[in-house]
Amino acid sequence: MLEIKNLVKRYGKGAPVLKDLNLSVQGEQLMSIIGSSGAGKSTLLRCVNRLVEPTSGSITLNGTDFTTLGAKDLRKARRRVGMVFQSFNLVDRLSVMENVQSGRLGYISTWAALTRRYPAEDIERAFELMERVGIAQYADKRADELSGGERQRVGVVRALMQRPEILLADEPTASLDPKTSEQIMSLLRDLARELNLPVIINIHNVTEAKEYSDRIVGMRYGRIIFDDKPAALDATQMDEIYAGTPSEDRQEMGAVA
């Protein structure tokens, strides 16, 4: 279970991007976060594994408070959180297998990493997962020879190699064409069920979010203003999530206070 409490993130001295945010994710559900650009979706996701350092608040994954960990413990804890990126973030000049195995870098020795002598069970698992998502035939190809959809599958397998307790996906389909995008979304949904894995997805495509998720969270300028089943998301709420600008939002808050 992922429990986020009173999370605040402020870049420099500006207004906070995340404002006292509370969120709890449990079980094998696929949760989508929607909201306009600048709402803080990406910052929220990156705060979970501390790619972005939270200003205050706590983030607890199955009993471990991530916000208090030192550098070494943080590295160990990050192994438990898989992440998939919008631009795939593969190492182009490495082979698909090397990219996939880089998900195990937190576990294997430096010597094994250097010499590419991966443990036999890691290789076994890599092939299982690659077969599951349909990229096993590309194991020895260079990552940049693959198409966008295939590259994102490599990204998903890399994250799953960590045997994560939760999977974060930061706009995993935004660089893909509509058809491929749907394939990746249904793949994420199916994997969530097969592996008993909670999945959090940042997404711009509301239609896809409604179709594939069990739960939708709507964010607007650092706050969660909608949190319910996809069916409950209607036009009025959509307008509210996507309305306004950050400065208007600040003025409104000033009026309230």
Binding site: L51, N89, V91, L94, S102
Partner: protein, 265 residues
Amino acid sequence: MTQTLTHEWARFTPAQRMKRYGALLAVTLVVVWALGSIDVIWEWVWDAPIQLVNLFARMVPPDPTNLPSILEATWQTINIATIATMIAVVLSLPVAYISAQNTTPNVVCLWIGRFILVSSRSVNTIIWALLFVAIFGPGIIAGIIAIMFRSIGFLGKLLGEAIEEIDPAPVEALEACGASRFKVVLYGIVPQVMPAFFAISILRWDINLRESTVLGLVGAGGIGIILQGAIDTFQWQEVSMVLLTILALVIAGEVISSALRKKLL
């Protein structure tokens, strides 16, 4: 038919024009002063074409009697360049790592790295060679170390810039996997700078090949020693033989390095 002019336009205002004339005058004065102060013996300058023809006549035909020792010195020159490049490549890796903004451990390391780069680059190979001939005595060792010292700055700077230009996205992904700093470098940074690494190393080898031909002038080994000896004893036909050998060597180096570049990149 007269037309009344309603628009006036000039690229410069009168004040700007005066300033530009003033600048031109200042530059002219500086050039005249510089030429006057360097003590040119003009008779020798006007004499130069005659001397040129004369020298050329004394150089032709090239004298191949000493060819075996010239070729041996050429081989020594190639060795100086190659060994020095290999050592410098290895030594420049940590320097590049600490002098790239995105990989340096801290500000102190950054400045140490930059100091190494600047001090290596600001001293010419020949001056390094003079120093090391004084330390190690004349010979190939002084040459190798001189070339190496100058190369570290060049390789470190260009490689450091290549490290700064990498795509940070894969690095972020590897950090998210819980990989240690060293493994992130190994998987995220090394593959990205590999092409630049080879290109820079080959380029430096090519430069070093040319630089090591003059090292002998200060006694640091290689073909330069024979050249120096031939000039000192007015063996102009041998001088031309040495120059032809150097030309062939440089062309060969060019061919080899461009072939390597094609093969590796």
